[in-house]
């Protein structure tokens, strides 16, 4: 192969959504897209995922909501978002102007709320696909997190699947005993794709005040420190289900992203890295292409699940 003139094929397809490259931005780290136009050419990334949306606007948690820990950070934002009505009125017009798939992340407190969200998002042509956050407490079932129980997760996925024709991605929580059982339950219930992992529940303590650092006491742990756990879970799930996997967890550079692809991910999401370098997703996509060129790989798809064990 003529390496100097090679333009590798970076395109992948996830849940029927065609991506120009495998690099997306993770929900909650990229606003509604518009916040990053000064730093990222949206035409150079595969897709972007919106901040998690709910039926009503959500205030979120009190502050402090964020604390840094070695190699990572904890956040307890509390799913603050503008709500579906303001999303449609104020954020969707921007999505229309960008020729990059926008995927709407959403959640609810009950199965009915999830389904209502899926139904309303299904009507928005600018939304290329849906990503369900199932890491929320099920209000009607004693507050157990939907994503911590396979039957509970299957129920909510089935309810959303029934009312939406859009590609449906389910974002898995790592705070479970058996991630593979969760993955299978969601796929059986109609998920077109799985994204993993969401944040790990953690906490930080200030010994001077003898108090937790976060007002919410616990928060979601993200950043490069969680990558080994995320890689392990992506590898386990990718072997167990047939739908495409989106790898998430501590991706800071193209090497990290390629590790997830080798583990079985068809695409990746860049999260915390965008906080440190707002242009991180684009840099990672560019560097991944350069790596393919340098290593004579003609098609990124040939690396998906190419891990040798």
């Amino acid at each position: 192969m003529d390496r100097l003139n090679m333009k590798p094929d970076m395109a992948v397809s996830v849940a029927g959504i065609a991506l120009r490259n495998p690099v997306m931005t993770a929900s909650g780290t990229f606003g509604y897209g518009e916040e990053f136009v000064d730093y990222v050419d949206l035409l150079k990334i595969g897709a972007f995922i919106t901040k998690g949306l709910s039926l009503k606007p959500r205030a979120g948690n009190p502050t402090p909501r964020i604390v840094e820990t070695p190699g990572g950070m904890l956040n307890a934002i509390g799913l603050q978002n503008v709500g579906i009505d303001a999303f449609i009125a104020k954020k969707v017009p921007f999505l229309r102007s960008v020729a990059t798939p926008a995927i709407a992340n959403f959640f609810g407190d009950t199965v009915d709320e999830y389904a209502e969200m899926a139904r309303r998002l299904d009507d928005i042509p600018e939304v290329a696909g849906l990503e369900m956050n199932i890491s929320c407490p099920n209000v009607k079932h004693g507050g157990i997190v939907f994503g911590a129980d396979p039957a509970c997760a299957a129920g909510v996925v089935r309810a959303c699947r029934a009312v939406s024709k859009k590609p449906l991605i389910v974002k898995l929580s790592p705070n479970v005993t058996d991630i593979v059982a969760m993955a299978k339950a969601c796929v059986d219930a109609g998920a077109d794709s799985l994204s993993l992992i969401n944040t790990l529940v953690g906490m930080a303590i200030d010994i001077k005040t003898r108090r937790p650092v976060l007002a919410n006491i616990t928060g979601g742990f993200s950043g490069p420190a969680i990558k080994p756990i995320a890689l392990r879970m992506v590898w386990q799930v990718a072997r167990a289900v047939k739908v495409p996997i989106i790898g998430i967890g501590g991706i800071m550079n193209a090497t990290d992203a390629l590790e997830f692809i080798l583990a079985g991910a068809s695409a990746v999401q860049v999260g915390t890295a965008s906080f440190i370098n707002p242009g991180a997703a684009q840099t990672i996509a560019d560097d991944m292409e350069a790596w393919l060129v340098a290593n004579g790989v003609a098609d990124v798809k040939s690396l998906i699940g190419a891990l040798e064990t």
Binding site: A59, T63, N75, S274
Partner: protein
């Protein structure tokens, strides 16, 4: 904008407080008083996040090489509070830093003829020097009220005096200026002015709350510059929010310190702390 900046100097101006001067791109010369930068302390993953720091000053310097064109610089005044700021304090001339900025809103200069009363507590003076410089430049009468726990927490007063700003100081231990809170001297000046003034404040929450209450009681405009725990500085992480005046759980009105602030009109915020 994101740029690589070279440190021109890094000096401890008072125990635990440092003043760093860095190179900046041409466009940075237009930074407003009150804006801030997010600095990556090291390229490693610990510390992971950038540090938000106020812009203390901007100006032009001429590099030592002959024939060099003047280039913009900016300065940051910071206090060593943890690992990240300790690493910043250990950096030297010619070291490089990854900088994002200028970010956020700046102070509003208001009408030039009214007296401007600037209140700073400890490291809260950091965004107020560039403000004072701008206000003096517009011909406004400017007074500074600087407070701190002790004399070590009263920073760069001579810099303000050199601008022609009249400075009042107060310390809790009485080691410099009046003993007690600086709001006492502020109130005296406001009494003398009979309510024709604009207030600007930056400092600890208790001080800001006291200044906001004084402004509200006398119905005079007051702008405050806030700090917040933030990961991104560009409005995405929602870590640094503060409640707006009408905020409630039912009708959320959180404002991002990074993009809607860090400067706010005091009356637009809820002063519950």
């Amino acid at each position: 904008m994101q740029f690589t900046s070279m440190i021109l100097s890094n000096v401890e101006v008072s125990p635990g407080y440092w003043r760093m001067r860095l190179t900046a791109p041409q466009a940075f010369a237009a930074a407003h008083a009150g804006q801030f930068v997010m600095v990556r302390v090291s390229a490693a993953i610990d510390p992971l996040l950038r540090r938000p720091l106020a812009i203390f000053d901007v100006g032009m310097h001429t590099p030592a090489q002959s024939g060099s064109q003047p280039q913009p610089f900016f300065e940051m005044l910071f206090r060593v509070v943890g690992k990240g700021t300790a690493m910043l304090a250990a950096l030297h001339e010619t070291d490089l830093l990854d900088v994002l900025g200028p970010l956020g809103s700046g102070f509003d200069a208001g009408s030039a003829d009214e007296e401007k009363l600037i209140v700073g507590g400890g490291i809260g003076l950091a965004p107020l020097y560039l403000l004072a410089k701008g206000l003096v430049g517009r011909g406004s009468p400017v007074r500074l009220f600087a407070g701190g726990r002790s004399r070590d927490d009263i920073l760069c007063i001579t810099e303000f005096e050199r601008l022609g700003v009249e400075c009042y100081t107060a310390t809790e231990d009485g080691s410099l200026g009046e003993q007690g809170f600086v709001t006492v001297a502020l109130t005296r000046r406001l009494d003398a002015l009979k309510g024709r003034a604009t207030l600007y404040a930056c400092g600890p929450d208790g001080m800001l709350k006291a200044v906001a209450a004084i402004a509200a009681e006398r119905q005079i405009p007051c702008q405050v510059s806030l700090e917040g725990y933030m990961a991104c500085g560009v409005g995405a992480c929602l870590g640094c929010v503060v409640p707006g005046r009408e905020h409630s759980t039912q009708t959320p009105d959180f404002r991002c310190v990074c993009t809607e602030g860090p400067v706010f009109s005091a009356r637009d915020l809820q002063w519950t702390v």
